[in-house]
Symmetry: C2
Subunit: 526 residues, 2 copies
Amino acid sequence: MIAWKNMDTLTAYQELKNAPKVDLAAAMSGEGGAQRVRRYSVPMGAGLAFNFGARPVDDGILAILADFAREAQLTGKFAELYNGAVINTGENRRVLHHLCRGQLGDAVIADGVDKRAFYVEQQNRIAELARKVHSGEIANAAGEKFTTVVQIGIGGSDLGPRAMYLALENWAKVNGCLKMKAEFISNVDPDDAAGVLSRIDVAHALFVLVSKSGTTLETLTNESFVKDALAKAGLDASKHMIAVTSETSPLAKSDDYLAAFFMDDYIGGRYSSTSAVGGAVLSLAFGPEVFAQFLDGAAEADRLAKNEDLLANPALLDALIGVYERNVLGYPNTAVLPYSQALSRFPAHLQQLDMESNGKSVNRFGEPVDYVTGPVIFGEPGTNGQHSFYQLLHQGTDIVPLQFVGFRNSQMATDVVIQGSTSQQKLCANVAAQIVAFACGKADDNRNKYFAGGRPSSIIIGDKLTPKALGALLAHFENKVMFQGFAWNLNSFDQEGVQLGKVLAKRVLAHDTDGALKVYSELLNI
Amino acid sequence: MIAWKNMDTLTAYQELKNAPKVDLAAAMSGEGGAQRVRRYSVPMGAGLAFNFGARPVDDGILAILADFAREAQLTGKFAELYNGAVINTGENRRVLHHLCRGQLGDAVIADGVDKRAFYVEQQNRIAELARKVHSGEIANAAGEKFTTVVQIGIGGSDLGPRAMYLALENWAKVNGCLKMKAEFISNVDPDDAAGVLSRIDVAHALFVLVSKSGTTLETLTNESFVKDALAKAGLDASKHMIAVTSETSPLAKSDDYLAAFFMDDYIGGRYSSTSAVGGAVLSLAFGPEVFAQFLDGAAEADRLAKNEDLLANPALLDALIGVYERNVLGYPNTAVLPYSQALSRFPAHLQQLDMESNGKSVNRFGEPVDYVTGPVIFGEPGTNGQHSFYQLLHQGTDIVPLQFVGFRNSQMATDVVIQGSTSQQKLCANVAAQIVAFACGKADDNRNKYFAGGRPSSIIIGDKLTPKALGALLAHFENKVMFQGFAWNLNSFDQEGVQLGKVLAKRVLAHDTDGALKVYSELLNI
């Protein structure tokens, strides 16, 4: 029997607060440090490893975290989720994004449909469309192949698919599977759509309109923007657009689209990269085989998240160490620092995934909680960040836990040797150096050159950023956020905090305002 | 006589801590809220206004902040700076970036040179080069015009110029002054350079190598990367490259470059967008006239920063309200949220500017301070962020002060009317709505739909994002960060925190490691 309890009612949480703290700088020094880094590593699927040598835990704290996981029934709650329970209580919905990449437990029948079969059917339909587009069987009015795919969506329909596309664009280029270049239109700012349209050839562009409800204001506005441009170019918009939406949305059976592919209410926007939302644009850009590899990587990570053994479950481990850093050590932020230019927008996706899921003050029953929840997430790729905000991370007054990602090999395999090393070796040397610099610090009589150390980090290490590795990386963080939500007893799958702004914006546009809102509206000439 | 004192020795700081707090939700409600928004607005140059109606201050707190500014001699310290004093004590350097855009005080003679004249000379030399490149007088070996300019630099030589380029690219396109497309190579990750090179036509590309010291590892590595590519294409690299560096660097008089333009040790990387570092790439991309307008806007904002009257000095005001939020109210982060897709990388630039300047734990004399200093800065453009991390901003357990930016008009002036309003109107309606939603919140018996409010923000409002407005916007934040550094008694102009990682990375590459560093090096196959 699963019991949903606030974290501060758990015995293990009290023990965690009372456990002796780790002196990270000391623990990471000398041979003891070397042993920690060797021991504190867990496979995370697709050849990746989660190394937490430089996180502020020891065997004693890990034992309490394992107790915490048992007491809070965290893997049991995950089983409830993948077996189809209504985990998103606020919206009375199941949470089924894992089914896009595999069947982790029982068949889930909802609305009379086997949901795994439904998601696979959509993948197959998308694959068929993609093959026809790539072969030219589906072409523009002049019979020419489409060369560009443009995703129109916002939030989860934008950040995840965009980050995944950028992560694989150069990989696909050198591996001969960049079938179509992808672009993205998201912002209601008209300069976003106008800017993208000014740099593409609309006659050879296929647009993917993504809105689960079919009512997202930004997305429908940008669709009209694009239709205008197509009409001005003398093109039939219905031959240049496909839709990704729910079966019940107004877009589902419209003649305005070449085809429509379906998602449903059981997959939240920020968890939709492995659904048709990511599937359409990524299959068109890279081919359905690449998208299938991406799903395989995610499935591997998902299976590991079932492990009851904390030390064989990297997502659970990452989650609980994060809870310890947030609630016991009191660190308000987490930085995501991939040493891979291809992951340039991965931190922005995780920022949404994490902050929209767990940026909440009430538990899943709508009662205020007495502890802090989701941290602020930010990050940029290294080595760029080293020449930017790392100053504060090293010597600022607040400690920020860090999540590094690094790969032994580059994606494009073009490199130069300067001063006896390749660029890839320099990149890897830098991330190794940073972990130790943050953890161990450096004494110096000149306090301006003094590094206190004790600044925790983990690193996910892989061989190369392939579609499969990317899938495992994505699923790791999705599952981490899910476990943290369970630990904090939140509903990580709704987002009521976005509603009030929408309501007030409508009032501004209807000129139904008073007080401060009226003055701001005037100042902005609305 | 200027006295450099720690903030906690100031009488005004103690008064600030004891002053009654503002109930922001109450203050922003009804007619009182409307009056606040009307009154709490300060011109910031180039037609922009800084509106702080929704920041958590009132006339009483503002009076104490004015006392604080006087007691801490903040405008007097700025005068020291622009008159050429050695403000960067750690590195024994003056701080002269303001001289790139105007003469605020006395002539500054350093090393026997009038520095304003020196910076203007570099601007003129760059303008001349840009005109020759645009006219085709300087062309490639085949006598064809260069069409692309590629900046090779990292940190301050990358983030600022890149953010400024992106801010004006679409504006330039519709105003007929996009002379060359710009690209940027920064990361030592070989996939960064390889990726950029795979999408440009190197035969028509002019590369701008930017390194003050001429020794930045990433930049020199990427230069070699590019030279390799040029050689493989049968091109003479020295006819495709210019350098921006200091006069004493090894790059300054090398035959490897078509030309070299100079900066000096008195302009830090993160303050260098208005120097030759930004000047070369932006003048090549948009023409020197556009770059001059950008400088004019910055100069306007700089002049306002001289005002001793707090309420006529928006940078000082923004700075001190920020100190109040950070040190008295205890908020650890600040989000930058431009409602303008063109400002997509402006938050990343401010992240460097702010966190590298004020992420410090010792005062300008190298003594530890007993108060928190620079916050974590992050942000993304609205409305995108609304569908992402705003959930946490509205309903999370931590309060994050927000800095909005909005413009009445779009840059490209292409728009559509949907449901009775343009996209630009929807964009503006959203930012107005967000400010009020954050400040006032909304009562609801369903705690999941309840918004506590009391979440502070300011907004910078302009007519349109032009080069001049962009200059004023940039200088505002530069000066804000400077004033906060003065308030915290920091040296905002060095960055010792980036050194340790460099030293350790060299040891890794030399295989001179032990302990944890050796194990990480092995795990990453270095």
